[in-house]
């Protein structure tokens, strides 16, 4: 039997709907569930807006002040006389990121073998190392920087330590994932050719994991240049100190110059690292979600 489109009447459609209600619409229960989630989400949003004063006159005042005082006074950037000094401090920032990332990689390398399921036999040791790495990672760079500034004083060393600690956590996670994805066959091959333990690691393990580790390390270096540029806000060295200082002193135009400098430096490092990654290991992967790659 053929049914032509013109023959279908509204009554037919209604009859079909009555016969197969679930094909046309969600059940009442699903509908309640759906609106309950939406409703509570919306209610919570409205409550938050109210709680934090979005409905007050102060909010409108703040908006106009933001436009008039902050945005309008950012441009044009000034303070080009200080530019050489800013560039120097930006160099310090990049150096902090470099040393911090390197230290993190050095600390993490042995730990990552401990944290790998296929290397460490002792389950508690492996699990404990993983959780320890998670603990290091779960505090933000700025929190560590705040602690280190108190413990070892103002300056880039506190920032380097903050980056090194967070990165140790991140690298243990990333490296041990690389190690757990090892292909046994290459190790077996070296073993079959009569290789001893050291040779198995040198020719069976390292060729598989090193490119991955190198790529991740470069990648996190990129990320850490961003992080290092704000650590100075709590006094842990780098350009963040100058930026916070200028903003707090209402020197907005000079702050604007510093922000532009940071953006340019971040883009330059991203580009450089991408080129290096491609040259070294043929890693053509695209940039991950920009800002917070540490948590991926």
């Amino acid at each position: 039997m053929t049914v032509r489109l013109a023959d279908i009447t509204a009554a037919d459609i209604a009859a079909e709907r009555a016969r197969f209600p679930r094909a046309y619409a969600p059940t009442p229960r699903e509908r309640v569930h759906f609106w309950l989630i939406r409703g509570s989400g919306a209610a919570l949003t409205v409550y938050c807006l109210y709680r934090f004063g979005f409905f007050s006159a102060g909010f409108l005042h703040g908006v106009s002040k933001f436009g008039a005082v902050v945005v309008a006074q950012l441009f044009p950037p000034t303070g080009f006389a200080n530019l050489p000094m800013f560039v120097m401090v930006m160099g310090e920032t990049i150096a902090m990121a470099f040393i911090g990332t390197l230290l993190g990689a050095v600390f993490a390398f042995p730990l990552s073998f401990l944290a790998s399921r296929n290397v460490t036999r002792s389950r508690p040791l492996q699990f404990g190392t993983r959780r320890f790495a998670d603990l290091l990672r779960s505090f933000d760079y700025l929190i560590w920087a705040l602690i280190f500034v108190r413990a070892i004083g103002l300056g880039p060393l506190a920032g380097i330590m903050a980056i090194a600690i967070v990165e140790t956590g991140t690298f243990v996670k990333l490296y041990s994932e690389a190690i757990e994805n090892l292909d046994r066959k290459q190790i077996d091959g070296v073993m079959a050719a009569g290789g001893d333990g050291l040779q198995r690691i040198r020719f069976g393990v390292l060729p598989q994991v090193l490119p991955m580790m190198l790529s991740n390390t470069l990648y996190m270096f990129e990320h850490n240049v961003r992080s290092a540029s704000i650590l100075g806000i709590v006094g842990a060295g780098g350009i963040g100190f100058l930026l916070a200082d200028r903003l707090r002193a209402y020197e907005l135009q000079e702050a604007c110059l510093i922000i532009i400098l940071i953006i340019v430096a971040v883009y330059a490092i991203d580009y450089l690292s991408k080129v290096l990654r491609e040259r070294l290991i043929g890693d053509h992967r695209r940039r991950e979600p920009v800002d917070d790659a540490a948590q991926t």
């Binding site: 934090f52 040393i99 705040l146």
Partner: protein, 293 residues
């Protein structure tokens, strides 16, 4: 380099070529090593870093970390804990503020970022200029770190959570706008053609052809963003933009070590809990979505 006596494919020829290959690789590695050492030296000089200061700093750090936890006896456990967490009410209130700040910033930021993402997707933007301008705007919003936005908003809105929420919101708009735009660019164009063929407007195209394809990915990114925003909300307080970071910052400044330890413990517990919850929600959201398709 090869002698004419060794024909192609012969073992002798192989030995010669292999030696040349090894030599080239070694030179390459040595050059890279040298460049690396030079970089490291330059970095160490610029950042005034040396191993001696590092090792002088380490014991002081350990001393500091030990001071974070006050002596807790097994017999007087309850008493010691209540002493340590004397400010628990105040801190939990700050923590609630922190979580709500992150929630609100995620909601507003995702709404705005999601809306803008349609203009920042190459396949959906009606004009290349709109696409280009939108991409650059989103880039600025997320390249400037949220704590820098917070510094600026504190100038206009004064000290308090409002400045923090706005700062995280701006950053969220930038990040979500970019991620969502990339999701939009990966959709199948066929449903769009369908809606267009049936005479749909631009908004109908978005509503009936694009959204059904992208919502699962949006959900996943949004849970992830909420997780990241909770982290951000704990630190914007360092510059006076509200949340538990403010309590942490003051305690550190005033050298109330036990308080610092107590707050850090609250923060780490929250972050870890959020990690677990977010992962659960993300899996259930994606699971449902793929089941529905």
């Amino acid at each position: 380099m090869t002698t004419p006596a060794a024909p192609r494919g012969s073992p002798a020829r192989f030995e010669v070529e292999y030696a040349a290959y090894r030599r080239a690789k070694r030179i390459y590695a040595a050059l890279f090593g040298a460049a690396f050492v030079v970089c490291l030296g330059a970095a160490a000089i610029t950042a005034k870093f040396d191993v001696v200061t590092l090792f002088q700093g380490l014991p002081r750090t350990t001393e500091f970390l030990v001071k974070l936890v006050p002596p807790i006896g097994l017999a007087t456990f309850a008493h010691d804990m209540s002493e340590w967490y004397w400010g628990i009410g105040k801190w939990l209130d700050s923590l609630l503020n922190t979580l709500l700040m992150a929630y609100l910033a995620t909601v507003i930021g995702t709404a705005i970022g999601g809306f803008l993402s349609f203009f920042a997707a190459r396949n959906l933007a009606r004009h290349y200029l709109i696409y280009w301008v939108m991409r650059r705007l989103l880039e600025i919003a997320r390249t400037v770190p949220d704590i820098v936005w917070a510094l600026m908003f504190v100038i206009a809105f004064g000290i308090g959570p409002l400045a923090g929420i706005l700062a995280i919101t701006v950053h969220t708009v930038g990040a979500q706008g970019k991620l969502f735009a990339e999701v939009n660019e990966n959709i199948s164009p066929l449903p769009i053609d369908g809606v267009r063929a049936a005479g749909g407007t631009w908004f109908q195209e978005i509503r009936f052809a694009v959204l059904p394809q992208v919502i699962p990915n949006y959900m996943s990114y949004t849970f992830w963003r909420l997780e990241l925003n909770v982290r951000s909300a704990t630190i914007v307080g360092f510059v006076g933009a509200g949340g538990i970071g403010h309590d942490l910052f003051t305690s550190v400044q005033l050298l109330y070590f036990a308080d610092v330890g107590a707050i850090l413990l609250i923060v780490v517990a929250t972050i870890m809990l959020i990690d677990v919850l977010s992962e659960m929600f993300r899996h259930s959201a994606i699971g449902k979505a793929s089941f529905a398709q």
